[in-house]
């Protein structure tokens, strides 16, 4: 390849800069979008991996119904594949600070740093004295700061000093824990059933007889991503061996418990015998009370151990779901962009080669090989795509993940993310970009390179005119004005341009529909349906445990005097739910028992997810919400398992599946509750409807001042929280919409400029005939608008499919998205597409004005 060819290629860049720029831009947008979306997932994974590595996040967490002793610990430590173990104590307790009292999860801090689940200290220091504690940062936002004092109490008949040596603590530090990636702190048997905060104390403060949990890390996982297959491969055998240890230890502990009980019983008998002057204590064996005792010893159930992996941690699972969801959105869309890039490249290069046919003919005649001639165009296209890729990488790797990550940080407690360059993603995007341009260029050169030089010296015959099918449809064709006939003839004459433009416009509309539709499905409609149609109550009051009669009547009086027009007593409990057949992971849900099921529909609309029919609670089954049923893979008539805490379970029948979008719920009637739990539910919540006028703050103050009310929550605040959370997904959607818009502009610009350059002579001719500038532009833009119109329809349809596909991949966790796209999004997509056409036409009008008739008509093409 002579220097001449290379110089020639770079000269071409200068002389046809706008074309070069078009290729460069589409490739840049394509690469930025591809690398950006593709690297969000890995970047999220990497920052979690770094965090987990730094804090030594546990791989397994063991729970036991009777706690663990040192022998248990030793057995766990000695099982194969264990790297380290850490016994910890935890209790749930009421935390009082000023007027606030709610439930906290109290966790022991290991004596040495660098232990499993090390705290990530955000502010302050670690406790040095026995009356010092750390609380989690999130809890501190609502109350105690460093230097404040908190009091812990048991909230049950057992005093707290059976588990803790002290009850009053000074807060000396704020921390985050890798076990709690999200705001969710888990469930408890105390209070409202929801844990509000975390308290970390030195292990020495705990006076419990046994460890509550054993944390385990797996050997050989350092440097391995927790989200990888390898991680699963390493930890699965360990999970098995831990389960084996569990079953062995459970057996041993049961024998020990029996032996202890037997020994105790024997001692009691001996004491009883001595006290009553009975010579042989074995004579007491047949006495009824000792018989009863012996029977209960014989029937003593085995303790239960639970081996929980990382995915059982709700924060971890949530984060993993978010990554999957992001990857879902990133899966197909970027390829779309490269598809469009191919189109732009193909049209541009074809035009360029066509324009230079005489030059190519000359080079051929001079004896340049086909390869050398094609090389010039390949070099041109490759230069554009390499530059475009480099710029795209910069935006893709630096900007896009950062924007999205910052949005996600509202939801997750994670340290800073450092943007990373992912070689494989970069390589793949470059591969796409370069193959797109070179294949397109190669195809463009093909016919010309096959022709003989002599043929190329002659101008290429313009495509001959042809009648179009529409001309046979008399009743349409006859009605058209002359100029409309010309427009139609021209549209169908340039078949390639017709299809390219229609396809390009269709792709852009499809992406706009998908992007705007995602916003509808994920943000707008979910909020509307959930907070408008389904959750109809305006306020919920959380009640304290075990209300006295006076407190109850005071509450009734207050409710009657405030402008709560009507209200409903309800019992809400945090539970987890599992399918009854397989050993699926438990899913956190809310158990709802309305005191008056007939009135429920005014507060919480239960209607069938598919038919929309209202659902009624019966006395022998439960109603699940849609997404919970989907995740459990159950339908009406199946049974599910309800776990009230990590160790007690109930089997229930699914009688209906209700439409719902946020949070999982299981609804039961009070009588069914009584059937399965043997007692009537204690209402701990009041759902109310407001008839406005009074301000929410005043109402909240009145209600909070009422004895027995522990919290007041307005549905409008819930909706606001939800909107804030969705801010994050909105960022992602905006990235898509902006990229789609940019691409739409470039595509339309390219196709229109090429259209004009191909029809230079025709335009000059009509100018000579005396068409005014606006008539000349109408002649051309009429075609653009029509082509846009033709492209929009398939675009809208394509958009619906694209949207459905992405939504399916993005919907994870306890959120359910609304499948439909709002009419306004379709309208907006259409308007935007037309606006891009209009904008490009506006630029083109300038170009048209500048066309020099004399030059254009001088020679024979």
């Amino acid at each position: 390849m002579g220097n001449t060819i290379i110089k020639n290629a770079f000269k071409e860049v200068r002389s046809s800069f706008s074309r070069f720029l078009a290729i460069l831009l589409v490739i840049m947008i394509g690469s930025a979008f591809y690398t950006g979306l593709k690297s969000v997932g890995p970047d999220l994974e990497a920052s979690a991996d770094r965090y987990f590595e730094a804090t030594h996040f546990m791989d397994f967490r063991l729970l036991s119904s009777i706690g663990f002793n040192d022998a248990d610990l030793a057995a766990v430590r000695n099982s194969s594949g264990v790297e380290d173990t850490q016994p910890i104590y935890t209790i749930d307790a009421f935390l009082s600070y000023g007027q606030q009292t709610n439930v906290a999860h109290v966790i022991s801090i290991p004596d040495s740093t660098g232990a499993i689940n090390d705290l990530h200290l955000v502010e302050g220091r670690l406790p040095q004295q026995s009356n010092e504690c750390i609380i989690d940062k999130q809890r501190s936002e609502a109350g105690p700061k460093i230097g404040d004092t908190i009091t812990l109490s048991s909230g049950t008949e057992t005093p707290i000093n059976t588990s803790l040596s002290q009850t009053v603590y000074h807060v000396v530090g704020l921390a985050e824990s890798p076990s709690y990636l999200t705001k969710d702190r888990g469930i408890t048997k105390l209070g409202t059933g929801k844990i509000n905060g975390l308290v970390f104390l030195p292990a020495a403060n705990f006076t419990l007889p046994a460890y509550t949990e054993i944390l385990v890390t797996a050997a050989g996982t350092s440097g391995i991503s927790t989200f990888s297959e390898e991680y699963i491969e390493i930890t699965t055998p360990l999970e098995e061996s831990l389960n084996t240890v569990a079953s062995q230890r459970v057996e041993i502990r049961q024998q020990e418990l029996k032996a202890d009980a037997e020994a105790q019983l024997a001692a009691q008998k001996t004491a009883f015998a001595a006290a009553n002057g009975i010579a042989d204590p074995s004579l007491l064996d047949s006495s009824p009370e000792f018989l009863e005792a012996q029977k209960s010893i014989n029937e003593l159930a085995a303790p239960q151990w639970h081996v929980l992996n990382r995915e059982s941690n709700s924060g971890y699972l949530d984060y993993q779901n978010t990554i999957e969801s992001t990857n879902g959105i990133a899966s197909i869309l970027p390829l779309f962009f490269f598809g469009i890039a191919t189109l732009v490249c193909l049209t541009t290069m074809t035009r360029m080669v066509e324009e230079q046919r005489t030059q190519i003919g000359t080079l051929k005649a001079l004896g340049y090989s086909n390869a050398a001639i094609a090389f010039k165009y390949l070099l041109y296209a490759a230069t554009a795509s390499v530059l475009g890729s480099l710029l795209g990488w910069a935006i893709g790797f630096m900007l896009i993940p950062q924007v999205i990550f910052n949005a996600y940080r509202v939801l997750y407690t994670l340290p800073e993310m450092t943007p990373a360059f992912h070689v494989s993603i970069a390589a793949l995007s470059a591969l796409f970009a370069i193959s797109v341009t070179t294949v397109a260029t190669f195809l463009s050169c093909l016919t010309i390179l096959r022709s003989a030089p002599a043929e190329l010296m002659l101008p290429s015959a313009p495509p001959p005119g042809k009648r179009i099918f529409l001309e046979n449809v008399d009743f349409i064709w006859k009605k058209l004005q002359f100029s409309q006939k010309i427009t139609f003839r021209n549209l169908f004459r340039y078949k390639k341009r017709f299809w390219m433009t229609v396809l390009g416009v269709a792709c852009c509309t499809a992406m706009l529909v998908a992007g705007l539709g995602l916003r509808d499905s994920i943000a707008t409609q979910v909020a509307e349906k959930q907070f408008g149609d389904i959750m109809r109550y305006d306020v919920s009051l959380q009640l304290k445990e075990n209300l006295t009669m006076e407190q109850k009547s005071a509450l009734v009086t207050t409710l009657a005097n405030t402008n709560l027009s009507t209200y409903l007593d309800n019992t809400v409990n945090n539970i987890s739910v599992q399918g009854s057949t397989d050993n699926s992971d438990p899913i956190d849900s809310l158990l709802m028992v309305p005191a008056d099921p007939a009135a429920l529909s005014n507060y919480f609309m239960l209607r069938s997810y598919d038919t929309g029919e209202p659902l009624v609670l019966s006395d022998h089954g439960v109603i699940l919400t849609q997404k919970l049923a989907k995740n459990l893979d159950v339908t009406t008539g199946d049974t599910i398992v309800i776990n009230e805490d990590e160790t007690t379970t109930q089997l229930v029948l699914v009688e209906g599946i209700a439409e719902n979008y946020l949070q999982h719920y299981v609804f039961l009637s009070p009588s069914y509750y009584q059937t399965i739990y043997g007692e009537l539910p204690q209402p701990n919540q009041v759902l109310g409807l407001l008839d406005s006028t009074l301000s929410q703050e005043d109402l909240a103050a009145t209600l909070m001042a009422t004895a027995g009310v522990s919290a007041v929550r307005f549905t409008s605040d819930n909706e606001q929280d939800f909107q804030n959370t969705l801010g994050s997904i909105n960022y992602l959607i905006w990235v898509i919409i902006i990229a789609a818009a940019l691409l739409a502009l470039v595509v339309q610009y390219t196709l229109t400029t090429i259209n004009i350059s191909e029809r230079f002579r025709e335009i000059a001719t009509i100018k000579v005939l005396g068409f005014y500038d606006r008539e000349v532009s109408a002649y051309i833009t009429r075609e653009s608008y029509l082509l846009t119109l033709f492209g929009i329809l398939p675009g809208l349809i394509g958009g619906i499919f694209l949207h459905g596909y992405i939504l399916d991949a993005a919907e994870v966790g306890n959120v359910m998205y609304v499948e439909s796209i709002l009419a306004q999004s379709f309208i907006l997509s259409i308007l935007l597409t037309f606006m891009f056409t209009w904008l490009v036409n506006l630029i083109m009008i300038g170009t048209l004005k500048k066309i020099n008739m004399v030059e254009a008509l001088k020679s024979n093409e």
Binding site: A461, P462, P463, P464, G465, K466, F482, S483, K485, I486, R489, N490, R493, R761, E762, A764, T765, I766, K767, V768, L769, G770, F771, Y772, D773, E775, M853, V854, L857, K858, S859, N860
Partner: protein, 236 residues
């Protein structure tokens, strides 16, 4: 009527600036053409003939000088006025026909008359140029001579005051060229339309009512020919 001045060029200059260099395509051109004349502008290639015609047709503006067509001072006209002038008063015939490929012969003519005030009926004009049988054909289905006839019909149908032809026979064979010249001459004499025709071929000059010879951007000579020859009597 023959003595009424139709075109008057006074000291028309045209310069092209190419980087540093200035090329004078026209270095002061003076001539007149009377209404209804068949004027022939002849000269060697590069003399500046096309430049004159382009200025005359309102497609290009002179650098200096004054000129009037049909008493209109065109050198004073703005861009839009020049378009109106082209639209209403000028018909062009080019060497390479410049027909719109995607329109049939008839439609090409229709496109031109769409925007005119008093056009002739396209069908009739096509009949006059002898193409009544080829009206529904596309340019690619017509021979060069036929295409040039369509292009002439397109120009005539506008009912222009001025018909400008730039080497109309340049791309045609001898006989076809002659028949096209005949059509133009006959039209001129029959309708009284003023025709200005450019050629590098001096042999056809005797068929004009007025002969203007151009050389190096200047008028070398201008003569009125009282006895123009019919095309049939000219050979080259």
């Amino acid at each position: 009527m023959m003595n009424e001045t139709m075109i008057e060029f006074k000291g028309i200059t045209k310069e092209y600036t190419m980087g540093e260099v200035k090329i004078a395509a026209l270095a002061g051109v003076d001539f007149t053409v009377n209404r209804g004349e068949f004027a022939i502008i002849a000269g060697p290639s590069g003399a500046g003939k096309s430049t004159i015609l382009n200025i005359l047709g309102g497609m290009d503006s002179p650098t200096g000088g004054e000129f009037t067509v049909n008493k209109q001072p065109l050198h004073c006209y703005g861009k839009k006025d020049l378009i109106t002038y082209r639209r209403q008063e000028v018909g062009f015939v080019f060497q390479f026909y410049n027909l719109i490929q995607n329109l049939t012969a008839l439609e090409n003519v229709e496109l031109a008359v769409e925007i005119c005030k008093n056009p002739f009926k396209p069908l009739e004009v096509l009949k006059q140029v002898g193409l009544e049988n080829r009206m529904i054909n596309f340019p690619s289905q017509l021979s060069g001579g036929e295409q040039q006839r369509v292009s002439i019909a397109r120009a005539l149908a506008k009912n222009p005051t001025l018909l400008l032809c730039d080497e109309p026979t340049g791309a045609l064979d001898y006989n076809t060229g002659r028949s096209v010249l005949k059509l133009l001459q006959d039209t001129c004499h029959r309708t009284g339309m003023t025709v200005v025709l450019i050629t590098h071929n001096l042999a056809i000059a005797p068929m004009g009512d007025r002969i203007i010879k151009i050389k190096n951007g200047c008028v070398e000579s201008m003569s009125v020919n009282a006895t123009p020859l019919p095309v049939e009597d000219i050979a080259w």
